[in-house]
């Protein structure tokens, strides 16, 4: 077997490649396992888990926008107990490391969900969801106040048996300030979540029942690239898993170039269910063709002379 040109070690995660589906765009893997072997993936970020089952928002929940989409699903999930007993059992048959996304209404909710999920042998890391724009409670209010985010991260770190990553919201005045606050306790950062947006119908009314939704897809890539760049500049060491509109190998290379360690694919999983294995294969071909010994050789090259 030839030496890997794209494996990477991050806290809690030994990734054979840096490509993983982003939380919320992959459910708990089962549907995509009908399309391909999930062992091909670097990791899987599963859909947010809350303490109790959530039924989500009213429909319509999605609307297309130019090179993107708005969603307001509302963190629908079957709840912690069900996920521990069913979804994670299913995922246990794969070697692929699982990153479990944690959400809640209160700090106590986050702590309890994190405590129990982190005990699962399948879960190799947690991703704190403090950036969902689509729920009244248990999302973004934890992600827009640096002190609150820091305290939440500290409390979750106290109980988690696996490394904790924090998913940052772009809907803030200074993402660097947020990153610096959570970095005191977090093992890593994932960024960015969706940007709050609205689309109207022909009658001048919002399409989404929730009125607003999170904008994702290729449209947000330049925003994400800049934010990863800013955070990497401020925090040269912290592991970053970057996402925001990735659709091609060139997009992956761009995120690595501004300092990301690994990347996640979101919206494009809906456009093309085979996108993840396709990009993993194309990334390998790209590195070979361009005589790049290892993907990490490109990391942060934007900062080099």
């Amino acid at each position: 077997m030839r030496k890997s040109n794209m494996n990477i070690s991050l806290p809690g995660l030994e990734l054979k490649n840096p490509v993983m589906p982003a939380s919320g765009c992959f459910s708990f893997g089962q549907e995509f396992s009908e399309f391909y072997d999930l062992n091909a993936l670097g990791a899987i970020m599963i859909k947010a888990t809350t303490l109790e089952e959530r039924m989500g928002n009213s429909t319509p929940r999605v609307a297309e926008t130019a090179s993107g989409m708005l969603n307001a699903i509302g963190l629908q999930n079957p709840g912690l107990e069900h996920i521990l007993n069913h979804e994670l059992k299913f995922l246990g048959q794969f070697e692929t490391p699982i990153i479990a996304n944690v959400a809640g209404n209160t700090i106590e909710d986050y702590v309890e969900v994190a405590r129990q999920l982190s005990k699962s042998p399948v879960v190799k890391a947690l991703e704190l969801n403090i950036s969902c724009p689509n729920v009244k409670e248990g999302g973004i209010q934890f992600g827009t106040d640096a002190e609150v985010a820091k305290e939440l991260t500290r409390r979750v770190k106290e109980v988690s048996e696996v490394p904790v990553y924090v998913k940052l919201s772009p809907n803030v005045t200074s993402i660097v300030e947020m990153a610096e606050a959570v970095a005191e306790y977090a093992d890593g950062i994932t960024m960015i979540n969706t940007l709050v947006g609205m689309r109207l119908d022909n009658f001048g009314k919002p399409i989404l029942a929730n009125l607003t939704g999170g904008l994702s897809g290729p449209a947000i890539k330049p925003v994400a690239i800049n934010m990863v760049y800013q955070v990497r500049k401020a925090l040269p060491k912290i592991p970053i898993i970057a996402m925001g509109g990735i659709a091609t190998v060139e997009d992956i290379i761009d995120f690595i170039s501004v300092g990301a360690d690994a990347v996640a694919i979101g919206t494009m999983n809906f456009t093309d269910p085979m996108i993840c294995p396709k990009l993993i294969k194309e990334l390998d071909e790209y590195l070979i063709k361009n005589n790049i010994a290892h993907l990490s050789d490109l990391k942060g090259r934007v900062f080099k002379n």
């Binding site: 549907e31 629908q76 919206t267």
Partner: protein, 254 residues
């Protein structure tokens, strides 16, 4: 189930209503995977990232012998307008077949009710009912004369009532106006597809058992995104794409 398929033909059959015939996959998915009338195809618009969401469109006809299927859709939004430009020989990226369709049961006489762009999937259903020796009566409604399509096709299979809201063609009013004049004792079951408001009326007023096909904005089309959920009468929730789009009368809160 993800296929790049060849467009065989495309034509406009009513005002902004397009009919596209699409060739079977090389490995014959029509024979291997297509199960029932009412299943749908999730069509990718173009091959760029301009349109990130696929368009769910129900299959209107299946030709197993000549190995193609057809879809009928309204070119109303930006995505479907791009689709409408496809010509014979072009290729189209399809997730197909998706969802659960209607079951063709051994009955005597069934009532078929369609409204607007909900009419197409009922044609294949009617074809299969007739092939199975089941008599079908059809009531199809449209906004206006320019919107009417498939009248001839339905006529070949049974008595067909065409209704337009403005009365510019056929009966004036809504499909329910024609239904009021029919004897419901003649039909074992009804099968409907169309606007939610029409389905809601049929669901609550028709006396016999029946099936309705719903639509909703979708993300993925295969159960992963939770965009197209709907509430069941028992309080639980289903995904329209994988649990539907066809449901039994009374099953869904409309």
């Amino acid at each position: 189930m993800n296929y790049i398929l060849e467009v065989l033909s495309q034509e406009m059959i009513a005002d902004n209503i397009y009919k596209m015939s699409i060739k079977d996959s090389d490995d014959n998915f029509i024979k291997k995977e297509l199960k029932s009338p009412g299943q749908f195809v999730h069509v990718r618009v173009g091959d760029t990232t301009e349109h990130v969401l696929r368009r769910p469109i129900s299959i209107s006809e299946i030709d197993k012998d000549h190995r193609f299927f057809t879809i009928v859709y309204r070119a109303e939004g930006a995505g479907t307008k791009v689709m409408a430009k496809l010509k014979a020989g072009d290729y189209i990226d399809c997730l197909v077949p998706l969802g659960n369709g209607y079951t063709v049961e051994a009955l005597e006489h069934v009532l078929i009710v369609g409204g607007g762009i909900g009419v197409p999937p009922l044609l294949e259903l009617v074809k299969q009912f007739n092939a199975a020796g089941v008599k079908t009566t059809h009531v199809i409604g449209f906004r206006s004369k320019k919107d009417v399509f498939y009248e001839k096709e339905f006529n070949t299979y049974g008595k067909t009532y065409v209704v337009t809201e403005d009365g510019s063609y056929g009966h004036k009013g809504f499909v329910t106006h024609v239904l009021e004049a029919l004897d419901m004792n003649e039909y074992d079951k009804f099968y409907a597809c169309g606007p939610k408001v029409m389905l809601s009326v049929l669901d609550s007023t028709l006396p016999m058992p029946g099936y309705i096909s719903l639509e909703e904005r979708m993300g993925c089309g295969f159960g992963a995104c939770y965009a197209c959920v709907c509430q069941k009468s028992d309080g639980s929730q289903v995904k329209l794409c994988t649990d539907g789009p066809v449901f039994e009368k009374g099953e869904i809160l409309l």
